[in-house]
Amino acid sequence: MYRLNYLLTMIIELKKFGTTLISRQTGKEAFSALQSFLKDTKKNEIIEINFDGVLTFSPSWGDEFLTPLLNIYGNKLILKNTSNPSVEATIEILEKITGKNFSQN
């Protein structure tokens, strides 16, 4: 008998929330909007956040959106396409402040 392990991944394209993601209010709103999608996630499902298309990112927005996701999903949260300088710099400071690391690929 073979047993297949399926790795389910939920992909969140951040650009659908906007391309200039900088304020706490909009970060909070985006996190609230995400809740209806997250409630259907399965146990062990990977949450992939794709930054492709994001022009500007900031710690205020990131702290309202990424920090709670990191606290809930830990290493099941994966950040993708993070090469934008403001995304890189924001991830760095959020990691410093939370004392936790984001998984990236």
Partner: protein, 241 residues
Amino acid sequence: MESKEFYTTKELAGFLDISRVAVFKKIKKGDIKAQKMGRNFVIFKKDIGDIDVFSSNLFKLAKDWALSNKKFPDQFYCQNSGAFQARIATMGSLMIKNQDAKDLFSLLTSIAGEIGNNSYDHNLGQWPDTSGIFFGYDLNKKQIVLADRGLGMLHTLKRVKPELKDHEQALKVAFTEVISGRKPEGRGNGLKYVKSVIFKNPISLIFQTGDAKLILSGGSTDLDLKKVKENIRGCIALITY
């Protein structure tokens, strides 16, 4: 802020800090596009369009407002955070197309966003007189200016750190310690972010609150903090790159 469509020559002279005669000369030379209204010239806001006309005095306009609530052109005023978000997104998209700014646009937009949003977050529901911020930028002079007439950092941070004695201490704490003026909310990383971005990039910042002024120079880890004569109740920031 008023909502009429034009400025009088007297108002424009005031904004530019030049005489009315100098404004007339600029109109005659064609530097400023004006139209006759009755016996007087008026300058339509749509004709000013970009900020070139004002650019040499951008920082002065902001400072005059922060110090004394002096009137300034509407196009720099963002009454609420929504108006600021829209304008800063426009700045970002203009920077992408600008030779001098395109490599740094995401970081410049991001740090200006943190500074501007800080003003709203810390003063929401508590603005002493005029709510909102001054936000102007000049891609030719490579500068971004933000100012508010809020409570200032000392007042805000004293809530969580009552031992703070003066503006200098408050300003230092704001840029070096992870502390939130809106505790118990977990905030307080914005200005540390601004500092770390500036340390690694060719960007400089002058930031003043109360009588304390901070200068951060691109690539340097020094915090140049000093006391100055003029006392600004809220905050003013000049970003150059």
